[in-house]
């Protein structure tokens, strides 16, 4: 039974570690499918994390904290949208500026809380169901935001593949001129997609600071925003594959913690490099098929649209 327990522990930990990546990557995926490359995910996650932490510390309400983080991420992405969509600024440069800006904003918001911890009880679990062996802990005692992430995964898949609005969004991303000629409002679709990306990044940030490691530390996202962007490439812009990517990285993170725990004599810094090294490996593997990656990339990704 001990082995089964260990397996369940690893699986739950992996799901939990994958949650912020899944949230942020789904948001970025929708934004990129509309043709907008937002490299500000790291900054939006950080602002979400600090806002969520501050609200949770002030109000003791975790739900309020998550909502505030979502709002904060959306507001930042609106700034990005104004610059890249209305002002037609270079998306790469604007995204980098947003990350640097967001890092500064989050440091300010969190400045009163550095090093302090939230009193957060672990996930309560769903009554009775969580007591089912194996399935109980695996499916019914996760963090609420983990369920939310899976709900969003299903929602984004349905939206993009099955809904008319999703078709509009894909049309805007692949052929903005044609979409415009057909009477679609390209900029409005892109604004909404960018804001969705910001909201999801904010939620991912709040998950980190409020549930995952309930403390505020400057730069606590540690590159997860960038890994989320890489995940979108890895997923070839398909929502279901984002899940595999997020689980893979969640798994790498957990393996790294476990190996640190059993002390094989490998310096911790080398283990901490694993997620970043894995990102590079994954990017190399997926990008080397130039034709396939070229076909999956939204055709107008990164190209400003002028009415």
């Amino acid at each position: 039974m001990a082995e089964a327990d260990f397996f369940i522990f690893i699986a739950v930990a992996t799901l939990t570690a994958a949650t912020p990546l899944l949230l942020a990557a789904l948001g970025e995926l929708v934004s990129e499918r509309s043709g907008v490359l937002n490299l500000g995910v790291e900054g939006m996650m950080l602002v979400g994390a600090s806002t969520g932490f501050a609200v949770a510390a002030g109000s003791q309400s975790l739900a309020l904290a998550v909502l505030a983080a979502i709002a904060a991420g959306a507001v930042l992405s609106l700034l990005f949208g104004f610059l890249t969509l209305t002002c037609m600024a270079n998306q790469v440069a604007t995204g980098l500026a947003l990350t640097i800006f967001g890092t500064g904003v989050s440091a300010y918001i969190g400045s009163g809380y550095t090093g302090s911890a939230l009193e957060v009880a672990g996930p309560a679990g769903i009554a009775y169901l969580s007591e089912i062996p194996v399935l109980g802990p695996l499916m019914f005692s996760l963090e609420p935001l983990t369920y939310f992430a899976f709900l969003m995964l299903a929602g984004v898949w349905w939206f993009l593949q099955r809904s008319r609005a999703g078709l509009t969004l894909r049309a805007v991303g692949d052929a903005p001129e044609a979409a415009h000629a057909n009477g679609l409002n390209v900029l409005r679709v892109r604004y909404l997609a960018v804001m969705f990306g910001g909201a999801m990044a904010g939620a991912g940030g709040a998950f980190l600071s409020v549930f995952y490691t309930p403390v505020w530390v400057e730069n606590m996202t540690a590159g997860r925003g960038w890994i989320a962007i890489a995940l979108v490439v890895f997923a070839a812009w398909k929502p279901t594959r984002v899940l595999f990517g997020a689980l893979l990285f969640g798994g790498v993170t957990i393996v790294q913690f476990q190996v640190q725990g059993i002390n094989l004599g490998i310096p911790t810094q080398f283990l901490s490099m694993l997620p970043y090294a894995a990102t590079i490996v994954v990017l190399v593997v997926i990008s080397s098929d130039r034709i396939k990656i070229g076909l999956s990339t939204p055709a107008s990704l990164g190209v400003p649209f002028r009415r």
Binding site: L79, A97, F101, A107, S287, S288
Partner: protein, 366 residues
Amino acid sequence: MPIRLEPRAAASRWVRYLAPVASALAAMIAGTLLFFFIGHDPAEAFYVFFVQPVSDLYGLGELFLKTAPILLCATGLAIGFRSNVWNIGAEGQLILGAICGGSLALAFDSVQGWWLLPAMFLAGGIGGMAWATVAAVLRVRFNANEILVTLMLTYIAGLFLSYLVYGPLRSPTGFNWPESTAFHGAARLPRLLDGTRMNAGILLALGVAVAAWVFVRFSYLSYQMEVGGKAVNAARYAGFGRNRMIWLGLLISGFCAGLAGVVEVAGTIGKLREVVSPGYGFAAIIVAYIGRLNPLAIILSSVLMALFFIGGEQAKVSLGVPSAITGIFQGTLLFFLLMSDLLVSYRLTWVGFASNSAEGGGAVDG
């Protein structure tokens, strides 16, 4: 919208260079307003951030001390950006430069000689270049996005430095601080002015910037790189290989960032420690943009950015805000520039609300 955008046939040169100046002023004003909104006296905040740090000789020395690494990184990045090579990991290449240059200083701990410092710079530059080489190989050979790869390499470089100063390079006499032994005299950059910490690093940086300007302005290679970045097909037709441009863009910027790393450890810090840069490599991206990718203009934007860093430190001491809020200033600065670029390349024409529907049809050509 009642406003219509008309592309300008040619953006005026003056306006192109006036926009960054206006953006800098706007960012300073916006930053001061920000301090006002969070409850500080705006006049005091402005004084603390932009005036006080450089109001004496020591402060001016600090300004040029911080200008050096920023200028080195930004100059290299600008050459890459001109050719559309997005090296975002100058911070990581800076760290590798610090590691390579610093290790050399520690290895020759008992040897004094004039050659040590140049050797350190060479080692640091090659270290930064080697780090960028990883990204170049993966981009050219495997088509992996250089933005993401250089960033991931930055995190890896930081962890590697952390490993070194906690492990093999930790000073045996340092009371277990994660620091190396202090470099000896021959491995330190000479100070330029008594009463300040300013060192010869700024001379190196200025030299590199001027050399880069000559390269950009007069060399055929730089022209090829620019064409290769801006018009891939035209470049291919002319026989300028895109891959060669990617290699050059990454290697040059990596080398310069590596030099910046050595300037930091051989100049300001004097040893290896866990953190050797407060984000100069990232700020350099903004600096390159504000300087319009022109190495001479970048000298000025580097000084401005150095002022932002010093202002942030001063604000931490005097106003009790975290020094990381300098990031807000940096981001705002680039936001304003990107916004003003709309006015540089387009003419805004007021067409009025009434004629909106009629004119709207005419503007659809875009």
